[in-house]
């Protein structure tokens, strides 16, 4: 669809839902200027975002972008070097007793005790979790056709991933974090894994955050997106609104400063005669010289991930972006 002079309704301008005062508890996960360094290298830096409760969110970024660091900070496995992280309003590494029971975590490559039988793993879950739902765990194992007597090490990769997921689900967590859960799975196992996950998410209304280096896997199941690249948050927000706010502008070769003064240019390319921009719109587009096209989520993600090779630009925090929006509204 290509239309010139397309104006966006005002309600669509706010890509980010900033944490509102008095509603902090409605965020399952909140970070403020969160950073983690190893020596001089920052694995994650200046990360400010809020994940509203009840969302199924994708944490997308290339390998080494800091996704695992982010998730480990959220679980309390790591302590931040800078800034803060809060899960349901609590700092995970300071209050593990309160946070851990509400948190489910499936680590990368879904590690299990390979020598333990599935039944033993379920007993481990039962003994270590006050909110453990044994009936749910057993029912899921039966549904998945995973024999309880089998040792974890003898299960297929897909089954191991499923067992790790069921262990996390039977904790009855309010927030479930999954680190690259699909990376080592074949397409069929991926589908079954996501089915188990989404069934549970719909059933319980828990908040889910999955990391992946590939948005394609997650687009169907997620409604919230966080793009992490080069240790920085590039974008965070509701997927529908992200898709609505991003446009591709195609026009004759021209100066883009007019567009840049109002909108955020995410990606630009120029040929001898033509300029193509991918912009995050911050208001209506009035300039008739641009043809406006819709962009797919995958293209948006790729555009943001491509930014990391540019000189690192300062990434505005949600609070700052909110400020931008207010200014915009003031101008109008």
């Amino acid at each position: 669809m290509t239309t010139a002079l397309q104006a966006l309704p005002a309600s669509d301008r706010r890509i980010i839902e900033p944490p509102e005062k008095g509603q902090r508890m409605s965020n399952a996960l909140e970070t403020t200027k969160l950073g983690k360094s190893y020596g001089r290298t920052w694995a994650l830096q200046d990360c400010t975002l809020a994940l509203p409760a009840g969302r199924v969110a994708a944490l997308v970024g290339p390998n080494g972008a800091g996704k695992t660091t982010f998730l480990h900070l959220a679980t309390g496995l790591l302590q931040p070097t800078a800034g803060s992280v809060q899960v349901f309003g609590m700092t995970p590494h300071e209050r593990p007793k309160e946070v851990l029971p509400r948190l489910g975590f499936v680590a990368q490559d879904h590690p299990l005790y390979r020598g333990l039988s599935v039944a033993d793993l379920l007993t481990l879950g039962r003994k270590m979790n006050p909110r453990w739902d044994d009936a749910l765990a057993r029912a899921r194992m039966q549904k998945l056709g995973i024999p309880l007597g089998r040792r974890a090490g003898q299960l297929s990769g897909g089954q191991q991933a499923q067992v790790a997921l069921v262990l996390a689900l039977a904790k009855r967590p309010d927030l479930l974090l999954l680190d690259e859960p699909l990376a080592s799975l074949d397409p069929l196992a991926r589908r079954e894994f996501l089915r188990t996950l989404m069934d549970a998410a719909v059933e319980t209304g828990m908040t889910v955050l999955l990391s992946s280096h590939n948005i394609g896997d997650l687009e169907r199941v997620c409604d919230y997106l966080i793009i992490l690249s080069a240790a920085h948050v590039q974008l965070a927000g509701d997927i529908t609104e992200i898709v609505r706010a991003h446009k591709r502008l195609v026009g004759p070769r021209q100066d883009v400063s007019g567009v840049a003064s109002v909108h955020t240019i995410v990606e630009s390319s120029q040929t001898a005669r033509q300029t193509t921009l991918l912009v995050r719109t911050n208001g209506p587009l009035f300039d008739p010289s641009w043809a406006v096209e819709e962009v797919s989520l995958e293209d948006i993600v790729l555009a943001y991930l491509g930014q990391q090779t540019d000189a690192r630009r300062p990434v505005s925090s949600p609070a700052e972006r909110e400020h931008d929006v207010e200014e915009m509204e003031g101008v109008q």
């Binding site: 496995l77 851990l100 490559d109 590690p111 005790y113 333990l116 033993d120 270590m128 979790n129 904790k171």
Partner: protein, 319 residues
């Protein structure tokens, strides 16, 4: 949580039990004939009635025969009892944290509703308790097995000292604690095993060689060289002879002298060189338990430090 710790370490428990069973079988098979001979040969009766001064004289023949028959077993038992705590530390202690990190199962077990401090407390408690128990069983076995020798040779001298009192279970706890700390520090099982061996040696050797003889100042006896080299006191087999030698003209203790003229007797020679007296230092037998508990206290104190380090690492640093 206790069930979890037990389930994850029961294989190691079974191995330790098997090792104790093998040791027990060895001690039983060799110890029964030994105990029989000890009674039959009259050595037991002799030693029971012997006073300190007559030990060497009266029971010498029988005692010598007994030692000739069974003495060869001592080095084996001594080696096994020195090696067991070290093996426990290297093979059970070192992997305790390191293997979790290596196999990344800490990401599973630390993400349950139990904090990792509690996880470590229960696991370490179980393993150290097991080590203490295993050390206690080994100690009981050894005290029974060694009892004939204990009358004959005493228990204060190495190597008997190491398996005749609380030092044995304490050294098992020490090796385990060092292993656990090494594992948390290196995060690599193999590296942790080597570090454990190194640490155990680095602690136990100086304690045995330098600290233990000086837990209390040794009792010193000196006498003129003219009286000959036999001490003027009766020396029980139960004391620990720490040192002996000559005191030279300057009053220094020495362990040897040169005889400048071959025509002289050694006494004339010593006198000519200005040597004045013999000396002999020892730890009296009644200090045995004080020494055992002192050394055990040192080992347990160091164990507490090592376990504290492991907790700090697991809480703060390890991930």
């Amino acid at each position: 949580m206790t069930w979890v710790a037990w389930r994850l370490h029961r294989a190691e428990g079974a191995v330790v039990l098997a090792v104790l069973a093998v040791l027990g079988a060895f001690l039983l098979l060799s110890g029964l004939p030994m105990a029989h001979s000890y009674q039959q040969s009259g050595l037991a009766a002799c030693l029971a009635h012997a006073t300190d001064s007559t030990v060497r004289g009266t029971c010498g023949q029988v005692g010598g025969a007994f030692q000739n028959q069974f003495g060869y077993l001592l080095p084996y038992a001594a080696f096994a009892l020195l090696a067991l705590p070290v093996l426990l530390g290297a093979l059970v202690g070192a992997p305790l944290v390191a293997r979790e990190l290596e196999q990344r199962t800490h990401l599973l077990v630390w993400m349950q509703s139990v904090t990792r401090v509690r996880w470590l407390s229960v696991t370490v408690g179980l393993v150290l308790g097991g080590g203490l128990l295993a050390g206690g069983v080994a100690l009981a076995l050894m005290r029974w097995w060694y009892s004939p020798f204990a009358q004959l040779l005493g228990t204060f001298r190495p190597p008997a000292y190491d398996f005749s009192g609380p030092v044995l279970p304490a050294s098992a706890v020490l090796a385990l604690a060092l292993g656990i700390a090494a594992g948390a520090l290196t995060r690599r099982t193999v590296l942790a095993i080597f570090l454990t061996l190194l640490l155990v040696l680095a602690i136990r050797m100086p304690v045995e060689l330098f600290l233990r003889p000086n837990f209390a100042p040794p009792v010193a006896v000196t006498w003129p060289i003219a009286r000959g080299d036999n001490p003027p006191v009766t020396v029980s087999t139960h004391v620990w002879e720490v040192d002996s030698g000559w005191i030279d003209g300057q009053g220094h203790q020495t362990h040897g002298f040169r005889c400048s003229s071959p025509s002289q007797t050694s006494l004339q020679c010593m006198q000519a060189d200005g040597y004045r007296s013999y000396y002999f230092t020892y730890q009296p037998a009644d200090r045995f338990w004080t020494f055992q508990w002192t050394e055990s206290g040192i080992y347990l104190g160091l164990s507490a430090l090592a376990v504290g380090l492991a907790f700090w690492l697991v809480r703060r640093r390890v991930t």
